[in-house]
Symmetry: D2
Subunit: 157 residues, 4 copies
């Protein structure tokens, strides 16, 4: 039976070729593991907003892709139901952004993931927190095992 890292690698290999948006934005997946992922993106001229800095939606797109790889890494098909973003510094043309995401919580269907986006100087650009929703029983990669079910919520929150 494959170990979690091998499953994460297989998920990345299956998701990446289909993820045309992340490709078109010039992203790369530099690392993936159980509940975690690291993606990079360089700010292009066509990513600048009317203030001359990187469009906040595109910073978010990088964080959201990182979130997607992290929350699907266990091979259970999982989507974003929402997220919140704090933009704490601007990014400019040519900046190389790195997004590091990690799982903070996962229950039966829902999860919470944090992603931090920094520039090439290590300056923090954005803090992203995403909420995930799992399609129970549906695999990202058919033939590979699904994660064991976590403990169910035993009470109302």
């Amino acid at each position: 039976m494959p170990d979690p890292q091998a499953i994460a690698d297989a998920v990345r290999d299956a998701m990446w070729p289909r993820d045309r948006a992340s490709q078109a934005l010039g992203m790369a997946v530099s690392a993936i593991g159980p509940g975690t992922a690291t993606l990079t993106m360089t700010v292009r001229a066509d990513m600048l907003n009317g203030h001359g800095s990187c469009h906040g939606g595109l910073i978010t797109a990088l964080a959201d892709s990182c979130f997607a790889f992290a929350c699907n890494a266990a091979n259970e098909l999982t989507v974003a139901s929402g997220f919140s973003v704090d933009i704490v510094a601007p990014a400019f043309e040519g900046d190389r952004l790195t997004a590091i995401g990690r799982e903070r919580h996962r229950s039966n269907r829902t999860g919470v993931y944090d992603v931090e986006v920094s520039n090439q100087h290590g300056r923090r650009i954005a803090l992203f927190r995403g909420q995930s929703y799992a399609m129970k029983g549906r695999a990202v990669v058919e033939g590979l095992p699904l994660p064991a079910a976590p403990a169910r919520r035993t009470g109302a929150a």
Copy 2:
């Protein structure tokens, strides 16, 4: 002295040519007014994620652009400090998305804006709520009046 609609039109005319990100994503500003804006975007093949639906970050980019036009429409240079997004339905290739934004609150430096994104069938796709931060005294369009200062916060919240 220009009326608020004329100022909003001038802000749009100044911001749009500089907003390469929104242009590259195929957006259009179909309406602007004091504290409000409407933008459209058609989902292209290069906007799809690994699940075959529109990348959440690009839905957010549409909403964020709408937010930017709405919160700058009074000619005070204003940036997004953060936002939260609920993705409530998927969007697919060819869908024509419309984002409608409006001001919900504005105090001295900070504001709150709601943006709803719907598809061509009127189905709601995403609910976005943005927090803005004004660069006091800096105009989007030099030579046009800045907004009068709103009432200051008179107490700590």
Copy 3:
């Protein structure tokens, strides 16, 4: 078969006596209906924070109670999975706060609700947006019908 308003009334009658927190905070449910609720609370001296204004968590508690009545009003047991709050003005001792909540979206298990909190002068104090999670098939009031299932999500978002 009871109409939606009668079901909402029955839900309120069942939830309120058990909701000791809302009672202890002096709240009252002034209206409830399908997907909507209105609650009030007067700011007491023991609700003030170190800045002399109403504690943000207690403004949130009012909004969260309003959210709970609104999202349970269809008789399907529903809990808050999360929320975001913008505090836009302070509230002070003696202020009478009113929270008005309404459903913005509801799918199979998840929903989005907006709650606005205002004071007795109609000044907006807080904007709250909540995410709900339904315990499918579990009623708030046994013996009353559950809502019909909404359309399933047909794709990944």
Copy 4:
């Protein structure tokens, strides 16, 4: 000149006696330091909602108090402008909750703080992320130094 820990202690000593809400909810400040605070609260019967678990607003109140001590610890009067909360597990009567908060970002006027709430078994109950707004030049404790100004935002985000 006082060191940052001595300033944080003095801020706690000044804020706590005035913070009637946190006192009324039975909280205690078990630690404070530069940009960080730890608070505790035991869930009482009058904190339970209609589902028999701790009211989400009161879990938020604990996190918000923790946030307030952390973001004021440098002696610059600072308020919450907003926050988002993910409730990931329920808390029940008698549970002893601990909130640990820490600064994630601070610029000229705005900051971002994360607070985690856990129960006595170390189970995570809630993830809170708060946005702060500083009243520049106003001290929490008069006579003690204010923090040096951080670097200004040098561009629009």
